[in-house]
Amino acid sequence: MAFTVTSSVDGTVAKLTLAGRLDANTAREFQVEIEKVAEQRPCTVALFVHELEYMASAGIRMLVFTKQKLGSETDVYVVGAQHQIIHTLEMTGVDKSVILVDEFEPAASIQG
């Protein structure tokens, strides 16, 4: 399955939906989308990754990039990550930089 990324910004919440394979060849598409979203200075970013089949190291680097691009005050949620991806994030410490959740509720998240 080819990699796709779409985004929308609603107030201070940005949502990106990722699907397919995120690797060195497709990471640049993700980066462009993040840079586009960052211009609107969101407080919360939710990455919906239910349909993301595979994340190579380049993809993990992009999560780090996302956090650093948006700043430490911006919460980055990774929503619906598959087991293998969660494992990889944990082993490399990226799980400390983002918030791993199964479901995303923007209002509660922003308050919390």
């Binding site: 690797d23 060195a24 060849n25 190579a56 190291s57 380049a58 993990i60 680097r61 780090v64 990039f65 956090k67 650093q68 494992h87 990889t88 944990e90 082993m91 490399t92 410490g93 990226v94 400390k96 930089s97």
Partner: protein
């Protein structure tokens, strides 16, 4: 206001070589570095006549491009080229070097061999530990490009006071590979990270990792004639790449994320107050002697990187085939660059240098009075607060314990502490006088350098574990397949009455007591104590004192023993906590044997079975040590008085006690002569001694009192 950013004018290719867009590169830094639009490659060779950059897709047998360096891409002895539009995540690279192949002149150039970059920050080819390599692959250890972009948050090296450290020496794979470890990724950095709570509960605050630079576990691997199992280069004291973490130690090695996994481990250790010290091996490389594989240095510039005999063979001061030419300015720079890199990029707190005496030899092997490398390391700005520890001897007979060129910075593994403490522990005669020196931080060896110059230890990866030290008179290395010829013979061990495993309860009881005695002596000694992984739970290597090649239970930490030997483990926890609680045990400077704060008790004084009358005679096996708490940390902090009575005689003896400072009374902190829980009391809960002027100390026992 929007600022218009001009793109760099050197971010464009100037020509095409082998179909790749390139331009002359930047000579610094050496290695492969990500730059705008491409990767900059830079490599040194003084004696090469030509250099070719070889590019592979990850894991590919054949390169997809070979790019000879044009003459104008060489500056001095450095070949540098920037290659654009590379998929660096899927890239491996190496070099072919042409030049004279004349071993008698020291040159061994061979352009048919693809060479690993000595500055490679990530290395492929051994991503999964123990997975048999594809031996048909010509390029075995494959340079990769690393993006150093880890999110460290606010982490930095901890810079704990050296005298406050309690070091724990561990092997990454051995720590969690045993099935009992119950971690998700056994034998890896990630697995070790899961065990941080254990280390914290034990009380250590410095984790010293046996080599984690990329090495080849298959180096000189062979079937063991004793049992048919494969013998590995298991410990890893043979470096392949000095800038790259061992990929096979990372669960994420196959993803190429070993650097992130290791950094995550270090960040979490720091978060838990634990420093990280690396055991580094600069004395030799994995290329061995003239019969060994050509991996990198030999083919890049043999004459520069190695110490060579006049005939062009390799000096072997390491006992491993070759010797790095560390006091050559080029090699010295490699070492400096390497250590700076690990401190700045991996936040490493300290280094222990394997066979460090070699680093003080000149290119012909003669010991230097003022070795440039050691001086450079001591005064380096990036390493300014990094702990530097020398194993102050080498395999060529140079023994510098107490005389290692220190420049006010270097500490040493104190081999004399180990030998003396072992002899004293087993009741050898004539040891009391020297043991008193070791207990006070070995001023005979390190006066003027402070107590922290002495890394005190009884056991380390080389030799017996603590359990084996009290269980075997002789080494039992048959499992190594060398007919028990390998390994040291002078172990200063005592089996307590039976050789090896026994169901004799008296013998077992004595062994347990001796292990507690050892832990107590270590923790009350001035200097920096070091514990070997697993000693706190009675880890045995079945009497094998040289388990360098075993990927099995002989090396692995058996976590079931935490429960099985809970009494010993709890004793270690308490005695380590005791050390942390009492700054009087952790003086920075050597003690003066005087009451220079007017407390009525000297900073340190010696006693025998009669107070103030130490028995230094050859027949003596007892020593009493009193530390005046008012002198703690140079008199800057308040502490209890601490009295230690060591009786290594086989019979119980009554010790007349010196008085503690005015208004204080003796309380029993430790008594190894009684079973748990009376063997060690939590700090602040020590029962008061019934008779304040005397104390019965059991045979082969140590009593520690606190005066408060």
């Amino acid at each position: 206001m929007q600022t218009l950013m001009l793109q760099r004018v050197d971010a464009y290719a100037t020509r095409t070589i082998a179909g790749m867009s390139v331009r002359a590169g930047r000579v610094f830094p050496f290695g492969a570095t990500l730059v705008a639009g491409g990767v900059n490659f830079s490599v040194f060779s003084r004696h090469a006549t030509a250099c070719t950059l070889v590019l592979y897709e990850k894991g590919a047998a054949e390169p997809f491009a070979e790019l000879p360096f044009p003459d104008e891409f060489r500056v001095g002895d450095v070949y540098a080229m920037t290659v654009f539009e590379l998929d660096h995540e899927n890239l491996e690279y190496g070099y072919r070097m042409d030049g004279p192949n004349d071993p008698s002149e020291g040159h061994r150039f061979d352009p048919s061999v693809v060479l690993m970059d000595p500055y490679a920050r990530q290395i492929g080819g051994r991503e999964v530990w123990g997975q048999t390599p594809d031996w048909d692959q010509a390029y075995q250890h494959r340079s990769q490009v690393l993006q150093d972009d880890f999110d460290w948050e606010h982490d930095r090296p901890l810079e704990l006071a050296a005298e406050d450290l309690v070091i724990y020496e561990a092997h990454v794979r051995s720590f969690t590979q045993h099935p009992s470890s119950n971690v998700r990724h056994p034998g890896t950095f990630a697995g070790l990270r899961e065990k941080i709570p254990y280390l914290k509960s034990l009380g250590i605050n410095c984790l010293e990792l046996m080599p984690i630079f990329e090495f080849d576990e298959f180096e000189n691997s062979s079937a063991n004639p004793a049992n048919g199992q494969l013998r590995y280069n298991y410990w890893g004291y043979s470096t392949v790449g000095f800038f790259a973490p061992k990929a096979g130690y990372a669960a994420t090695g196959p993803l190429g994320m070993q650097a992130d996994e290791l950094k995550t481990l270090i960040k979490d250790l720091h978060r838990n107050g634990i420093e990280v010290m690396l055991d580094v091996v600069f004395n030799h490389t994995a290329e061995g002697d003239h019969r060994g594989p050509t991996i990198s240095f030999r083919g890049l510039d043999n004459k520069t990187y190695y110490m060579l005999t006049p005939e062009g063979y390799y000096y072997n001061f390491s006992g491993c085939g070759n010797t790095l030419n560390c006091n050559n300015p080029i090699v010295r720079q490699v070492v400096l660059d390497c250590l700076r890199y690990w401190v700045s990029e991996y936040h490493i707190d300290g280094f222990r240098f394997d066979l460090a005496a070699i680093l003080g030899r000149d290119p012909s092997g003669v010991p230097l009075a003022n070795p440039p490398l050691l001086e450079s390391l001591a005064h380096d700005p990036v390493l300014g607060r990094t702990k530097l520890v020398a194993e102050a001897w080498d395999a060529g007979g140079l023994y510098q314990v107490g005389s290692f060129p220190a420049y006010g910075r270097w500490a040493e593994w104190n081999g004399k502490y180990r030998d003396t403490a072992r002899k004293f522990l087993k009741g050898d005669m004539g040891q009391v006088s020297e043991m008193s020196l070791r207990l006070q931080g070995s001023p005979d060896l390190y006066y003027g350098r402070g107590t922290a110059a002495s890394i005190n230890f009884l056991t380390c990866h080389d030799g017996f574990t603590l359990r084996d030290l009290v269980s075997y008179n002789e080494k039992h290395n048959e499992a190594n397949g060398e007919s028990n010829r390998d390994g040291a013979n002078d172990n200063e061990s005592w089996n307590c009455g039976a050789e090896g495993a026994t169901d004799d309860r008296l013998v077992e009881s004595l062994r347990l007591r001796q292990m507690k005695n050892a832990a107590t002596l270590l923790m009350v000694s001035q200097g920096i104590p070091m514990i070997l992984m697993g000693d706190e739970v009675g880890r045995t290597k079945q009497g094998n004192n040289n388990t360098y090649c075993h990927d099995n239970e002989l090396n692995w930490f058996n976590w079931w023993q935490v429960e099985e030997n809970a009494e010993l483990q709890r004793f270690f926890q308490k005695i380590i906590a005791f050390r942390h609680a009492h700054p009087v045990l952790r003086s920075r400077d050597h003690l003066r044997h005087a009451d220079w704060v007017g407390s009525g008790v000297p900073d340190i004084s010696w006693h025998g079975t009669r107070a103030w009358e130490p028995d230094w005679s050859a027949l003596s096996r007892v020593v009493g040590l009193l530390l005046g708490g008012h002198h703690a940390k140079g008199g800057t902090v308040a502490d209890d008085d601490v009295y230690v009575a060591s009786n290594m005689h086989f019979e119980a003896l009554e010790f007349e006690l010196p008085r503690p400072a005015e208004g204080r009374q003796w309380h029993v902190a430790v008594n190894t002569g009684v079973p748990a829980p009376g063997d060690a009391h939590p700090c602040g809960e020590e029962p008061m001694l019934e008779q304040q002027d005397r104390c019965l100390v059991g045979g082969r026992s140590v009593v520690v009192l606190v005066g408060r």
